[in-house]
């Protein structure tokens, strides 16, 4: 039981993944996010070797649909996997195996693919896509955040016996550099999507400071001073 979205920003070409689930520490199992290559996420009953293999195949130049065919041929339990793949040009392939449990499905819509299993119904995918599409002018990480909130508000995970809480969540965004630009996580929490919003907002307040501190260390102010100034700005006081 998980719901996820892979999206591409048409303006910048940045790629990103937003994911949340009942499972703990899902962000620690999202290695298929590669700058200048693409994204692959395998979930439901995940085959952990799928995502690195898919990234390698995408990097060699295969189309997502071909990568999916190779993942299928390489895995005797492909029917139990749910997989979405997007390359750096935004081409998408998705697979929801018949062995995945609960309400399970995927939907491709323009620059994104929403996919999930163990959900209350297709309205969760609609919520993900509506959230992603609501503000196309925003940075990709914010659009992915809105998508997860849209999925949660549409009912998220559950079945006839009840709702299943989001216990972990993550957003990753890559651009052209070797490391992720955004990589925020909540690993163990009772309401992980709310907590992820809090982490993302806080990280965005520090993002430029962290980047500049690395690029131009001679001019960097101490971080505790930056934190104090940030607090003062938020309180509307001169720092």
């Amino acid at each position: 039981m998980t719901y996820s979205i892979i999206g591409r920003c048409a303006r910048t070409g940045r790629l990103g993944l937003g994911i949340t689930t009942f499972s703990l520490a899902v962000g620690g199992r999202c290695e298929g996010v590669a700058a200048n290559v693409g994204i692959c996420k395998t979930q439901a009953f995940p085959n952990r070797t799928n995502d690195p293999l898919a990234i390698g195949l995408l990097a060699q130049g295969h189309l997502p649909v071909r990568v999916m065919a190779m993942l299928a041929a390489n895995d005797s339990e492909h029917d139990y996997r749910q997989i979405a793949i997007m390359d750096r040009e935004g081409r998408i392939a998705a697979h929801t195996g018949s062995g995945t449990r609960g309400w399970s499905g995927h939907r491709i819509d323009g620059d994104c693919v929403a996919f999930g299993n163990g959900l209350v119904g297709p309205q969760v995918l609609a919520g993900l896509i509506a959230g992603f599409s609501a503000r196309p002018d925003e940075a990709l990480e914010h659009r992915l955040m809105r998508a997860l909130e849209g999925g949660r508000d549409a009912g998220g995970q559950g079945d006839a016996t009840g709702h299943r809480p989001e216990r972990s969540a993550a957003i990753k965004v890559v651009d052209r550099v070797d490391y992720p630009e955004i990589d925020v996580r909540v690993d163990v929490h009772a309401t992980a999507v709310e907590e992820l919003r809090r982490v993302l907002e806080e990280f965005k307040a520090y993002e430029e400071f962290y980047r500049q501190r690395g690029r131009d260390p001679a001019r960097a102010i101490p971080q505790d001073l930056f934190a104090k100034q940030l607090e003062a700005r938020r309180a509307g006081r001169p720092s």
Partner: protein, 239 residues
Amino acid sequence: MTFTLLARCPKSGQIGIGIATYSICVGLYCNGLRGNVGATMSQAFVNQGNNALALRLLEQGLAPARVLDELIANDPDSAYRQIAVIDRRGEAVAVSGAKTRGWSGHRIGAGYVAMGNVLAGPKVVEAMAEAYEAAADLAFERRLLAAIEAGRDAGGQAGNEGPLAERSAAVVVCGHHDHAELDLRVDLHDKAVDALRSAFEEYEPYRDYYRERGRNPRQAIPQYQFAENLRRRRREAAQ
């Protein structure tokens, strides 16, 4: 303002990092571990290109000392960086740049580096190294956790105006696979080392379940049921 234990486990050959810092979302920067290759971490004023470069150089066969030389030669601001590099045999090197701030230093041991900057003093690095060595009988990830807990207990970070909280922390372990065997994070918290320990203890019983669920999906019980069973076992154990 960060304290870190980077190591190769002499028993399992795994590589790993335990890290805690005042900065938020530090796990984002821990992209320097790759099974069968080695481990590296750049901190203080982070050059975010360093880890990816170091891994590629290790992969090409350069010794850790040569990798470190190149990271320094490749960076006009190298004096602001604190860097550790360990190869898959456990050969370890480190540098604490002259312009890193506060008390800054490292200790190199057999297959590990303890390092930090803006610390309460050398005792923090020494405590990490001693705790890591003393925990030789524990699982590798528990040794890494013990090291950063010892660093915290020895005073942790100290800025110009006193002690600095650990606001984020992470523990990552890679073995022979293309994906991490453990990748746990706390991105934004008042006591991130404590929160990381409780996240780890919560996650630990799920690890085998997650692994087996992917390998043998047909036999997997629903996770909600697994969580329920776990709760019951814990209740019984507490009685």
